[in-house]
Symmetry: C2
Subunit: 447 residues, 2 copies
């Protein structure tokens, strides 16, 4: 299993792309490598790279490639996210999608074609890097399917699939430019991953057009982002099982939609937000969260959010964003960073994920009338929902302490799949389980 960190540049946050400094980047990467991390995830700003729909700045692509090289010099692999898009409460939407140019970014043909051109160019710019972990289409792009992000918000699930497929294909085209580079595959060990990242409304909010299938059906791994300000911590307490198991739960929940039982699952973002986790509890939250994640099967890795606290000299961030770093803004290791580092080092020493997958699976009632996906399934899955509560109860009562897998009712008769997943026992949500206790909190509530 891989241990990584989302890189939040210590100087100038992501605005540092406007004043790119290799030495600032190197200092950050050196600190991240000192944790025992094996990879970072990095975030170009979309309007900086593609300020006009048909202008992709080569100098910006070169800067991204340079960051990958610098990280590599410290032994770090790099995942590059394309469409930011959205980061830490701030939107970065190009002017060609604003005001008189407002169009649906997921469906307008010109926009989709040009967005794909950017994803392809970005992938091509780093395709030959031996330390390229992968390309993610963008950070939680599904946020743009609803307010307060710019309208229109009329994207359907089908349109979401077409968009995700187009973006993944673009990334693969970009990566293919390095297919002839001699020795590259051998130096890498594995091919770069293409992934689609969503925030947790994909699993928890029935109104969100991008759903579990978008995570499971596109790219090479199923990506989850775990943020306990979504109601988990409010309901269970910051160190309650529903909080420190939230990353594990989300991995299991998301994996239920994988069609290939071997498909990796990636907890690509998880952090200890101080609006619900007391800073004094951050280290314990970090350690317990990662230990539970180690209990899940086919976990590609965990990538902590984030490397460095945001500088207090920058305004308007939600308060929690100033304190999410494993390092302070000026580079001192924080207790949560120590906890992360201890786990990353022991993972390197071989104490990794459990050998066999959990043998029990909780049945998620996905079938609606006439075989359609059941509306309400996502509310049930959200923190406090009847499915989430049942999963937590099973997890806490398990003798080995491992949370159960999740199996969709629509696939429960697929013996081959269940065997491949190592599921020997399917458990139903009890009839007397409560209905949803609370609906998923919107990220806006974090501010």
């Amino acid at each position: 299993m891989r241990f990584g960190v989302n890189h939040t540049p210590s100087v100038g946050w992501f605005h540092s792309w406007l004043d790119f400094s290799p030495s600032d980047t190197a200092r950050d990467m050196e600190q991240i490598a000192s944790l025992g991390a094996d990879h970072v995830r990095i975030f170009p700003l979309w309007p900086v790279v593609q300020p006009n729909r048909t202008l992709i700045r080569q100098s910006a692509l070169r800067d991204v490639a340079t960051v990958v090289d610098i990280a590599g010099s410290f032994g770090l692999d790099v995942n590059v996210d394309a469409l930011q898009g959205h980061l830490s409460s701030f939107d970065f939407v190009p002017s060609w999608l604003e005001s008189w140019h407002r169009r649906n970014m997921f469906t307008d043909p010109d926009v989709v074609a040009s967005t794909a051109a950017y994803v392809e160019a970005l992938a091509a710019a780093v395709a030959d890097k031996p330390n390229l972990l992968g390309i993610t289409i963008g950070n939680e792009v599904n946020q743009f399917a609803h307010a307060p992000h710019p309208a229109p918000h009329d994207t359907t699930a089908e349109q979401g699939h077409a968009w995700a497929a187009a973006m993944v294909a673009a990334a693969r085209r970009g990566l293919s430019v390095a297919s002839g580079v001699s020795g590259l595959e051998a130096r890498r060990g594995s091919a770069p991953l293409v992934t689609v990242a969503q925030y947790d409304a994909a699993w928890y909010d029935d109104a969100q057009p991008f759903g579990p299938e978008h995570a499971a059906d596109h790219g090479d791994a199923t990506v989850t982002h775990s943020w306990v300000f979504n109601g988990s911590a409010a309901l269970h307490g910051a160190l309650g099982p529903g909080s420190v198991r939230h990353g594990e739960y989300l991995l299991q929940l998301a994996a239920a939609w994988n069609r290939d039982p071997e498909r990796p699952n990636w907890l690509q973002e998880v952090g200890a937000p101080t609006n619900v986790v007391d800073p004094a509890d951050a280290a314990s939250f970090t350690e317990q969260t990662i230990r539970h994640v180690l209990d899940a099967q086919h976990v590609l890795g965990v990538t902590w959010w984030c490397s460095h606290d945001v500088s207090r000299s920058l305004a308007d961030f939600p308060e929690l964003e100033y304190d999410l770093g494993l390092f302070t803004n000026d580079g001192r290791l924080k207790p949560a960073g120590e906890a992360f580092a201890a786990l990353a080092r022991s993972a390197r020493d071989g104490a990794t994920t459990s050998a066999a997958p959990p043998s029990t699976a909780l049945v998620l009632d996905d079938d609606g009338p006439d075989g359609a996906p059941r509306h309400g399934i996502r509310a049930d899955s959200a923190p406090g929902g009847r499915f989430a509560a049942a999963w937590l109860e099973l997890a806490e009562s398990a003798l080995d302490g491992r949370g159960p897998q999740v199996v969709l009712r629509s696939r429960i008769d697929d013996d081959t799949l269940l065997a491949a997943r190592g599921i020997t026992r399917c458990v139903e949500v009890p009839d007397d389980a409560p209905t949803a206790l609370l609906s998923v909190a919107h990220p806006a509530t974090m501010a």
Copy 2:
């Protein structure tokens, strides 16, 4: 009278700030200077200079200062606009005003304070340049008081005054850092101007909170932007008097609000938009427009929009924006450029504005019930409105061909003011004048 050009960078348009090239800038400035122009107006992009509310990028300010120096090396003075804001149908709004950070940019105290900090820093960065013509608060910032620009749109006229006053004060503070620079004033001849630029809804749309008073009561000159796609060309034809006199009319209309009769009036933007002016007519339109402007009094200057056509390699501009340049994108002089150059050169040779102001003034009925400004005054003033039609008729029937001045009814008994303005005859709009023929077209219609 001054002749200038709005600089639209030939390489990368205003996105070139992201890849600032002194040599590209120098080539553009050399071409502009070859027209006989004495100044340029330049446009930093707000989110590039101030990407976070409390982060003003020193390197971006240095780039702006370098442009001023380069222009100076070709004998050009420079006016620097701060808040872009809006340019050629594209919005450039910082992320700290978007989505979860959406606030009224004219009234939110944190936003106003930080916006003022940017205006001040920008002014300070160029304060010691001997060729600084002035600072404009921003390009047509009053567009942000209504849709489709981001809400909220609830700014009042009073709040608009407070905002404009705060921005002008900030610019003056910034300029004051050079107050001790020896010999600077002498080298300049005149102090840099601080101005507030609005698009013509200020004069034509009764619903626009920023009005004539905001133009006339703030800063050192009253600024007008003349675009005949506002209905003038549709109503009068591209070369009809209502079109080629539109710049002159707007200068006279705006001057009516000046409290100081000596206050200069600046036609800061005027161009020949091909959606209503046939490219074959652009040179004639340019020549006639400028000749009529020369007939107005106290004209500080005319600044043509724009220097260079937008490259066809950039997408999504309204069609007309690709053809507004006095030069093609690759630097060939266009017929409109030749017309502009001939007038600029003859102006340099002394054939400037008429000596005495027009002695006739048309009375604009600004008094409403109880002395309040009359609602509808701006609709009447818009192209096709009863006041605009009467002004045009007077202008066309004048023996000297000069359009009349405009006097507000509320000031008609101010003999001192009228004498200072050289007004000896006040004419009423005929009772049988038609009511407004058409309302002012929104800039959206240019797309």
